[in-house]
């Protein structure tokens, strides 16, 4: 039993602490930033900027000359075009597959939907090397898919599946579908299921309800999903390296080649610049769409 009325020792006001002043606090909290800022500036910002604009022993002008060349050279253009094209394809596939899955996961009353959500998210924790390696087993020359096609009598000799665009698309879709599902899932979960009912009651079919109610309301989540998948596909390395090889070079594998094999700093920096600009462009575009959606 607590005796409420018993006196408690009072904190002694310290003479040394001056009364709180706002300026004082802001100076203190700025101090908390210092270690983080040092690390960020020295370990990330300065090296990145220096690499993009002043690599060792190479004048900056050379980078821009290489950049100009790349944007006209057919081989380099092909790599850029392949990167953008594959990233676009993967983005579309991930949204088209991810949105219905997210919708189903968010709306199904089934006990199993929790399990399926976990199964969809789990791969995010798993090494990309492990995930991509599975496609080598499936698509390789003695792999399961080729053997299956032969067994079924569809083809006589197992076709070349590895080192194709299809292989890269499959690999990247596997990699980024979970991200698309999560983004769409949190968007769908915020839409009142009563709105679907209301639309149906007013005469809207399932598909119509999807188009005029659910999709417009989840657009911000879909845009986030598309942005993450596109940026991820443009910058992914493991998948194009293992599944595309040297016959399907993308910007990332090309960059590694310039930096490591040919040690061509100007080309490496120019490639890095293109990659970075692509990612910034898509991020900017997506926040622009997001802002427009918020105001309208």
């Amino acid at each position: 039993m607590v005796r409420l009325l018993e006196p408690v020792p009072q904190p002694v006001p310290s003479k040394r602490t001056p009364p709180r002043k706002d300026a004082d606090i802001s100076r203190k909290s700025a101090f908390l930033l210092v270690p983080g800022l040092v690390l960020l500036v020295a370990g990330f910002l300065i090296p990145s900027a220096a690499m993009l604009f002043a690599p060792p022993d190479v004048p900056a002008s050379e980078i821009f000359a290489r950049l100009g060349e790349m944007l006209t050279d057919p081989y380099d253009l092909e790599v850029i075009g392949r990167t953008v094209g594959l990233a676009l394809a993967v983005t579309i596939i991930c949204v088209v597959l991810g949105f219905p899955i997210a919708y189903w996961l968010a709306r199904s009353p089934s006990r199993w939907s929790g399990v399926f959500l976990a199964v969809a998210i789990f791969p995010l924790m798993l090494s990309n090397v492990v995930r991509t390696f599975g496609w080598l087993v499936i698509l390789g020359s003695k792999g399961a898919l080729g053997q299956l096609l032969v067994q079924l009598g569809i083809v006589e000799v197992a076709p070349q599946l590895l080192y194709t665009k299809l292989a890269i698309i499959l690999g990247l879709t596997q990699l980024f579908l979970p991200l698309a599902i999560i983004s769409c899932y949190s968007a769908v979960a915020q839409v009142d299921p009563g709105l679907d009912d209301a639309s149906r009651g007013l005469g809207g079919s399932r598909i119509r309800t999807m188009w005029s109610i659910v999709i417009p309301l989840t657009m911000p989540g879909i845009v986030v999903a598309a942005t993450l998948v596109f940026a991820g596909s443009v910058t992914a390395y493991t998948t194009p390296y293992l599944l595309g090889g040297s016959s399907q070079r993308m910007l990332s594998t090309q960059l590694f080649n310039y930096a490591s094999t040919t040690v061509d700093w100007a080309s490496a920096s120019a490639t890095a610049l293109i990659m970075t600009v692509l990612v910034f462009l898509i991020s900017g575009l997506s926040s622009l769409i997001g802002r427009k959606g918020a105001t309208s």
Binding site: D192, L195, D197, A198, R200, G201, L202, G203, G204
Partner: protein, 325 residues
Amino acid sequence: MTAAAELIGVTQRFGSFTAVDEIDLAVPSGKLTTLLGPSGCGKTTTLRMIAGYSAPTSGTIRIAGIDSTRTPPEKRNLGMVFQSYALFPHMTVADNVGYGLKLRKVPSAERRLRVMETLELVGLAHLADRKPKKLSGGQQQRVALARAIAIRPKLLLLDEPLSNLDARLRVQMRAELRRIQAETKLTVILVTHDQDEALEMSDAMVIMNEGRIVQQGSPQQVFPRPADRFVAEFLGYENFLTAADGTPLTIRPEHLHIVEKGHGLDATVVDVAFRGVDLLVSLDVVDPSGATVRLLADVRSGATLTPGSGVTVIAPDDHLVSLPR
């Protein structure tokens, strides 16, 4: 008179739990019918089956005489107002109201006309271009109503449409809903757990308990003759006693009279609560069967009653309701 909707032996089970149990119901055309009952008794479930959002486990639902048990909601042409209103947040008020008409491919000029007409009916024509988020609760409620009415539904289904409004607005909207029903001559099913609302608004009331219909009829029929103790309690009968032959009886507090001495039941005053115009008196009463029961009497203030004093309680025969044993 034909029934606008008919439920025949309709049951809804969720796993092993029976939410609606073999109900039979005929909803009269052009009238306002209320579904009344305590929380969880299956009102929403019943309404959702009528609307087509969930198929009954067994039984038949007829709408305008046609078996519609398995018809999807979008093919039923019913108007529904949800408890949460479910207004489309990305559309203006006018677009919300016009949504059903657009789906019915009503040409845009006529659509605008009908939208404005409906908005005028609910008194919101001046807010046509607003987004739902910028409306008050009462205004949102009217938009939801307008949206349901605009498609000229065969049946208007309202799931506790007034329960999210504050007390004053709720009373105001009861009259408003009645006026709209009278003007449109729509068949309305209104779900509520508020007996005052049901009594005031219904042409016919249907009282549910634990998934079953326990009584139905007009308020004038139901109110003075509750079918059993559950309905009696639900309608505000608070006094339960037993006749000499063992029949359970009930009477409302305002129908008990207290006299100092006379022919009636012997009683002792337990407590007196002052309520302005009246007094609420608790009494220990010896009922006709000889048992002592605690009763409440609602009497005009001015009487001087002190706890502990002995009095006589008169329960007029024409107000005593006998209940099944």
